[in-house]
Amino acid sequence: MSLAEAEAAVLRTDEPSGLWKDAFDRFKRNPAALVGALLILTFILIAVFAPVIATHDPHAQVGNLSANPEGPGDGHIMGLDKQGRDYFSRVVYGTRLSLLVGLVSVAVGLSLGVLLGSLAGYLGGWVDVVIMRFMDIMLSIPGLLLAIGIVAALGRGLVQIMVAVGIVNVPVFARLLRAAILGQMDSDYVLAGRSVGVGGWRLLGRHILPNSIAPVIVQATLAMATAIIDVAGLSFLGLGPANPSFPEWGKMLADSASRLEQGVHLVFFPGIAIVLSVLGLNLVGDGLREAIDPRLKT
């Protein structure tokens, strides 16, 4: 057996792995990240199986209208709200909305951010200057304020809110990706790619982007958490989804905050739901960052 063959044999013994598989292995060894993943998974299951889990119709009045709604008790795990609706069912259905909002608004922010960030980083020159100065302008406006402005311009409604929260995230993604791409542009493999005739968008899409996207993915999970809070905040301020009967955690908080003394459960349960989902996403995001960042490799 030649030296080369022996070497190859040794190398063959480890299973085929790549950047992503290594990252996944590191992620699995991180207990905090696993707890986060478990939390998110639970919320996803709750959202998917909401009709099964909910004990009542979230819109149906099952108890009495009351200024002092019933607390947790028989038949109603989380009690009733002021309209006499089963609060547990409303919190469960609220999961759907919050996760949807998190996903869609991050998808909006991510796609626009990736598009602008790669154009700026890859093309450079005046394209870079124009895009990034515009991003700076957006960053100079506080996120929630910007979102309020966009909702005011687009009108109220679920879609408008998700777009608004998404747009707030665009500059963050764009900046992050641009920086990562600039870091990759001078690498040897990009030069080598050019030297074999790969160029244009293909070089960007197949070679540069996959090597630059990791920090953006991490940011996306964190952004999902802020998106849930932002939407809850907008709802709290009365800019939530147009249909007031639709269960949304932030709206549920807002409706009951002024009457804390009449029903602590009305604030407690949606609050806890927001806290747990955001915590889960943050733990996953931090875990991903540690798993992907090669400098933290152990």
Partner: protein, 337 residues
């Protein structure tokens, strides 16, 4: 005489930075025919790599070719559009880089990286490209090649990665292969293997090879002809044998003398070339090597010497070549050229 395969004429490159304009390549010319092996040697910063990047058209944003032409198959490569040039790179002219550890994309399997070249240039379908990739890996000496297509670059050693780079470079049977310090990052035994591989591939494929290096030993082993480069110009060109046996330019002589030799007494100190390469932000009149040269004459300071033939096929750019003069000190009185 028939048209050479690749003909570089008076290639000139400048870098424009905010602080200064740098002149890394100041007019170099050479011809290549199929099967030629040309070495370009010089110390760091003399413009070797920049000239090769320039003729591949991948200089980057600050670098610009400011003069000359690169004629390949009756076309001036410097006048091609980006898209046209892309179809030449990798297809007609390919390149191998210094550092195999970073020259492969870490997130793609090597199979995908090789098939990408094949599919881009030869429009092969997936299956054919995969087969061809396995054949290529086999040719460059990677054991159980077909099984390794799914592996990532980090699963290969440095030498193996350089073999993969070579496989990518020769994938489309290019006419010209430029190897920029292909063995510098490898240890000596692997270096020899890679050079052997290059030599045999050049012979089999009838390619022309340009080997860029600072290592005279590498040139001696592989190249028929050698051009010595200093400060962006060729100062001496000729067959490798002539250059090594009868160096004419004081710089070539200095380079040869600064190679450690086994047949010298152990106590002898290694000779060096005094000074360091000149500041390239300006073009000076006179020979750019003059400040470091023991043979420099008044003429050297006054006017830039051009390459002239001193023996058949052996050209030197020097007012006072080694064989016609007496070194150091006495040179001032001589003044012959």
């Amino acid at each position: 005489m028939t048209q050479p395969l690749l003909s570089v004429r008076d290639l000139e490159v400048k870098f424009f930075t905010r602080r200064a304009t740098i002149h890394p390549v100041n007019g170099i010319s050479f011809d290549l025919n199929p099967g030629d092996t040309l070495g370009i040697v010089g110390e760091s910063g003399c413009g070797k790599s920049v000239s090769s990047l320039a003729l591949m058209g991948i200089l980057g944003k600050t670098g610009k070719v400011t003069g000359g032409e690169v004629i390949f198959e009756e076309r001036d490569l410097l006048k091609l559009s980006n898209a046209q040039m892309r179809s030449v790179r990798g297809r007609q002219i390919a390149m191998i880089f210094q550092d195999p550890m970073t020259s492969l994309n870490p997130v793609l399997t090597i199979g995908r990286q090789i098939t990408e070249v094949l599919r881009t240039h030869l429009q092969m379908d997936k299956e054919a490209a995969r087969k061809e990739a396995a054949t290529l890996l086999d040719r460059v000496g990677i054991p159980s090649a077909a099984d390794r297509l799914g592996d990532y670059p980090h699963q290969f050693s440095g030498g193996m990665r350089q073999r993969v780079m070579i496989a990518m470079a020769i994938a489309c049977h290019p006419r010209v292969l430029i190897a920029d310090e292909p063995t510098t990052a490898l240890d000596v035994t692997i270096q020899a293997q890679i050079l052997d591989l290059l030599r045999s591939l050049v012979a089999e494929e009838e390619m022309a090879l340009v080997l860029i290096t600072h290592d005279l030993g590498v040139v001696a082993g592989v190249c028929e002809r050698t051009n010595v480069m200093y400060a962006g110009r060729f100062v001496e060109t000729g067959t490798t044998r002539d250059l090594f046996e009868r160096p004419q330019h004081p710089y070539t002589l200095g380079l040869l003398r600064s190679v450690p030799r086994l047949d010298r007494p152990k106590t002898a100190r290694l000779e060096t070339i005094k000074g360091s390469p000149r500041d390239q932000t300006q073009i000076l009149t006179g020979c750019s090597f003059a400040p470091r040269c023991a043979y420099a004459t008044d003429e050297s300071w006054a006017e830039t010497p051009l390459l002239r033939e001193i023996a058949p096929g052996h050209r030197v750019a020097c007012w006072n070549p080694v064989s016609t003069s007496v070194p150091a000190g006495s040179a001032e009185q001589g003044g012959h050229s």
